[in-house]
Amino acid sequence: MWQSSFWQSSFWKNLVRWFHKWTSPKWFYNLSRPLGAWIGWLALLILVVSLVWGLAFAPIERLQGNSYRIIFIHVPAAFLSQAIYAAIAALGLIGLVWRIKLAFYLAKQSVPIGASMAFLALVTGAIWGKPTWGAWWVWDARLTSMLVLLFLYLGLWALHNAMERPESGDRAAAILALVGVVNLPIIKFSVEWWNTLHQPATLKFTEAPPMHISMLIPFLLAILGFYLAAVAWALKRTRLEILQRERRTQWARDELDRLGGNV
């Protein structure tokens, strides 16, 4: 008895209403405009401060000299690319189970962001590798995993684009992301195992020696800045996706009219 009264309680009904409202594309669109702008400016500020601090003012690292400074870009990008993949899988699951369109839109538009981060991590890794290892590309465990992750991202994007109907693309990509997220730990484990088997431990990437506080603060700030920038970017991309996918609804038409040719 108490169960049914719970499901009929005003608390539960309000919760459901709130949830539906929050996940409605229109509500999200309107909310994300000011939110995205605020987060975007904040991200820019933090990124400028942390990168200027990290690249120009933080002290030189004892073992690696100046080349260590690339970790201020490389590490946040690498973190993000993995976090975004996990987020895409989680959003895909939400979309599949609760059929929430917004989750699919967000997941889809996070793919290029995650892919860019993986690519950025690979490029900065190569730039770091040249002075450190003497080669642009070394089959380091982390770099190899990152390369595989980039392929996973490219697969997601290609699948989205290959499907004729975007709704099918959403669901297919969600399944692929879920399969990928189960496999990612296995891939990482196997690549690391393979790497230790074939290469004696060299100077490991991103396992930077214990950081002095004067390096640590800009480093943490850079990570925060990257995360915020990714969120702002994802909000912006998702807003466009919403307009495109909801273009038949009245509010989206009005919005498109309002924006005129500036979309």
Partner: protein
């Protein structure tokens, strides 16, 4: 009708179809042979150096040969509507998909495994590693058939599905390649290999349990597109 009975029926049908399309059956082994034969031409005929690469070359070639055949796994079923009937079966579609994957293994993974010693000799793989090469291929190709089935299901209705399939599935094949090769290398060098083989088996079990679910989910999208 019992589920095991249906499973046998599915297996029977798939093998019968494979037999009636036997021209396609020859493709993976042929591809395997060609890739392995190209390596000495491209790298070196020196048997000692070939021997060090043999495990990797054999595994990469077997993996590609397997990938080549995956594209056809659901294609004709999709074209003639059998896929819809599969999804509307009164028994769990996962069981039928499992039957199809097993049939795929029997007509690709198994032949590749059986012919591998011959190709291994051409690459001067140490005889001690031979049984482990076969065992690792037999186990690893089970995973490839199952995980590959997910990719085949995701791309079945699409033009250019084959190319996309490669992109989707390749990253997922990485662990199988690594541990498959590792087993053979360890055995060739007289090192312990049971751990790697156990991991290969664990991956096959994981795929056995989870891949059919994802495959069926993907097929549901394919029949809608």
């Amino acid at each position: 009708m019992k589920l095991s009975r249906l499973f046998t029926r599915v297996l029977q049908r798939e093998l019968q179809l494979a037999y009636r399309r036997r021209a396609d059956l020859a493709n993976p082994p042929l591809f395997f042979l060609i890739v392995v034969a190209l390596f000495p031409l491209g790298v070196t005929p020196d048997l000692e150096r070939l021997a060090t690469m043999a495990a990797g070359v054999l595994w990469v070639a077997a993996l590609l040969a397997n990938l080549l055949s995956l594209d056809l796994l659901f294609r004709s079923d999709h074209e003639d509507g059998s896929l819809e009937q599969l999804l509307l079966a009164s028994s769990p579609p996962t069981l039928i998909v499992l039957g199809k994957a097993l049939a795929h293994w029997l007509v690709t993974g198994l032949p590749l495994t059986l012919m591998s010693p011959l190709l291994a000799m051409m690459l001067a793989l140490s005889p001690a590693a031979m049984p482990l090469l076969m065992l690792s291929l037999a186990l690893g190709t089970v995973t490839l058939s199952l995980v590959g089935g997910i990719g085949a299901a995701l791309t079945v209705g699409l033009r250019q599905g084959g190319l996309l399939l490669t992109l989707l599935i390749m990253p997922l094949f990485v662990p199988v390649l690594i541990f498959g090769t590792a087993v053979v290398q360890a055995a060739g060098a007289g090192l312990p290999w049971s751990g790697q083989l156990a991991l290969l088996a664990a991956m096959a079990v994981l795929a056995l349990v989870s891949a059919p679910l994802a495959t069926v989910a993907a097929l549901r999208i394919a029949v809608e597109e």
